[in-house]
């Protein structure tokens, strides 16, 4: 019988990745994801895996690209400034339809920013991780348990859709400890007949490539890839609805800020305010279905983020003017307090009226 263990979020993601069959980790030191790489450097040699500290974030993501091309389950982790450097490699992975898992334990930006928790890479993760027409799947865990669960699931989804998958965490989730139940180690991994493993004189040579000098060919491939994205949008949306059944003031928050928003919702309910919370777990695909399910009761969306307002734009796109969308955020590494969020809920409640 498996037992819960007390783990840091960063370590839980690492252990869970190993259990998902990841035997290759390439990274570069950066705060606040340090524990993840340290855990990998300790555990990989014990399970026949490879931990390699790359010379740069750029080299690390290109090692992920190479290991993925060679058919392996592979992971890298970093924090915001490092993810910017990985953008090139992630774009190439998308262009070559290579699976792989990228962890971003976000910190405040722009530039060197700070080392305190932030959610200011939402746009980067969901809009423009790198150049070109592509998306990656993005999971936003909110607990250490979810960090383990989605790190585990990310490998399956990456292989299923041949897509890079990001775990968008932050310094608060990465550093905090909670009890976690680890998933079972996988012993069977999917076949990858497309991988460059050496053709053994048994098949035509495999090519991993994103270069298409003929515009027609490139357009056709991009269109095919976006058809796959439509399948992902239809099948892979995930969100948690908390106290949403009759909710008028619907908060929207992911990751660390969702923990605070949840407390604020509970406090608002105690005052008799019909508040609820939509917590997107997949940021891409954005869980539009969850929003549709509250449109009948919702009179106000209050988006709470640890940034200057990024996911709020996706909420406006879903709402399409049907429900007003407001924003409350703290930035620079500051975590909003439940009390400040509650004040916003109260104000919204007053505005909306009885």
């Amino acid at each position: 019988m498996a037992e819960k263990v007390l783990m840091k979020g960063n370590e839980a993601m690492a252990e869970s990745a190993i259990r998902a069959g990841c035997r290759f980790f390439f990274g570069y030191p950066i705060t606040p994801q340090t524990e993840l790489a340290a855990y990998m450097s300790k555990q990989m040699p014990k399970c026949g895996g490879t931990y390699l500290q790359a010379e740069s974030e750029i080299a690390a993501i290109n090692m992920v690209y190479g290991a993925s091309a060679a058919g392996a389950r592979v992971m890298t982790s970093s924090s915001s400034p490092g993810i910017s450097l990985k953008g090139e490699g992630i774009s190439y992975m998308a262009g070559c339809d290579l699976p792989g898992v990228i962890v971003n334990v976000q910190r405040g930006g722009p530039g060197l920013g700070g080392i305190q928790p932030s959610q200011s890479d939402y746009w980067q993760a969901t809009r423009a991780t790198g150049h070109g027409d592509f998306q990656i799947m993005v999971y936003a865990p909110s607990t250490v348990q979810e960090m383990a669960d989605y790190a585990y699931l990310a490998f399956d989804k990456a292989d299923e859709y041949r897509i890079p998958v990001m775990i968008l965490a932050d310094g608060m989730l990465g550093q905090m400890m909670e009890p976690v139940l680890m998933p079972e180690p996988k012993d069977e991994l999917p076949e990858k007949p497309w991988a460059t493993t050496g053709h053994k004189n048994e098949r035509k040579h495999n090519i991993v490539d994103s270069l298409y000098l003929t515009p027609d060919a490139l357009e056709r491939l991009n269109r095919e890839r976006f058809e796959r994205y439509e399948v992902i949008k239809a099948n892979e949306q995930r969100a948690e609805l908390f106290m949403c059944d009759d909710a008028e003031i619907v908060l929207v928050a992911f990751g660390a800020s969702a923990r605070i928003a949840r407390s604020a919702v509970v406090a608002a309910r105690e005052q008799g305010i019909k508040a609820g919370l939509i917590r997107p777990i997949t940021l891409w695909p954005f869980p539009t279905d969850a929003f549709e399910s509250v449109m009948d009761t919702a009179r106000d969306f209050l988006v709470v983020e640890m940034n200057m307002g990024q996911m709020v734009e996706d909420v406006r796109l879903v709402s399409e003017g049907r429900v007003p969308v407001e924003f409350f955020g703290r930035t620079g590494g500051i975590i909003p307090t439940p009390a400040e969020v509650l004040k916003r809920i109260e104000a919204a409640h007053e505005r909306v009226g009885e």
Binding site: F24, L52, G66, G89
Partner: protein, 277 residues
């Protein structure tokens, strides 16, 4: 074919029967052939994975018969590192140009070399960016005229060319470095020998091997293929002398690690096995 006739020359199996997109007179064709002949002779096509980064030879993913991976500009050593780590029994080679290897990918080059990755690198140094139309490269010579050094490379502002083989020869992870060219049958044979040795080293676990091929770019140099070779002999070979820059086996070591251990013999922390001796 009559009984007396026998095949003495044919396309290597590892070079696919396709039309390449290289310019007339470009030595890529010669070097591709030498790599493919090597793969055939060592019987490793089924185990070989090639990595072709951005540059003219990025399209070689379609020309070599082994499994091939395109890499981002400069990143082939990182990609090749990972492929080799995943499949240590595969033969992994990177085929890179000078802008790719010595400019945008210099960090990846130096670190793959210093890690002693057991891979083979074929480095084409023709002192110019070919694919983008003839810009100044890290190996462009002083006063060499290119599209982006129209008054000649001014070393006071653009700095000096990088001698890659000399630079890498100081690194402990490196097993074998040789600079060759392919301007004559004699030199082609020498280049072939070096390339084959660089692949054999990998199979034998000797370590990181890089062959620098001093080459030409008739199109962007604005010279005929033969005049290009003349210019290369006259100007490039004095700056980039041919020869072996490192060979740990010739130095009496089994591999790069052994040579590195001998070099650091007086450093106690590097030699825990000597503790208490």
């Amino acid at each position: 074919m009559s009984a007396e006739e026998k095949v003495v020359f044919e396309r290597p199996h590892a070079l696919l029967p396709v039309i390449t997109n290289y310019c007339p007179g470009c030595p890529h064709g010669i070097v591709h052939r030498l790599v493919a002949e090597t793969i055939d002779e060592l019987g490793i096509e089924g185990e070989t994975v090639g990595v072709a980064p951005v540059g003219c030879a990025v399209t070689s993913v379609d020309f070599f018969g082994c499994d091939m991976i395109e890499a981002a500009h400069g990143r082939a050593p990182a990609v090749a590192t990972a492929v080799k780590r995943v499949h240590p029994n595969n033969v992994v080679f990177a085929y890179q140009g000078d802008g790719d290897l010595a400019s945008i990918g210099m960090a990846e080059t130096v670190h793959a070399a210093t890690r002693g990755e057991n891979i083979t690198v074929i480095f084409i140094n023709n002192a110019i960016y070919g694919m983008t139309g003839g810009q100044m490269a890290p190996t462009s010579l002083p006063h060499q005229i290119t599209q982006t050094s129209p008054y000649g490379r001014d070393t006071t502002t653009a700095g000096f060319p990088i001698r890659v083989s000399e630079l890498l020869s100081s690194l402990d992870g490196v097993a074998y470095l040789e600079r060759v060219t392919v301007d004559s049958p004699k030199n082609v044979r020498k280049a072939k020998k070096a390339i084959k040795k660089a692949f054999q080293n990998q199979i034998d676990g000797v370590g990181y091997s890089l062959i620098e091929v001093v080459s030409t770019c008739p199109t962007n140099w604005g010279l005929s293929p033969q005049d290009s070779f003349n210019w290369m002999r006259e100007n490039m070979l004095p700056y980039y002398p041919l020869g072996v820059y490192k060979d740990v086996v010739a130095d009496g070591f089994a591999n790069a690690a052994e040579a590195a251990a001998a070099r650091s013999a007086d450093c106690p922390v590097a030699h825990p096995e000597k503790a208490g001796a």
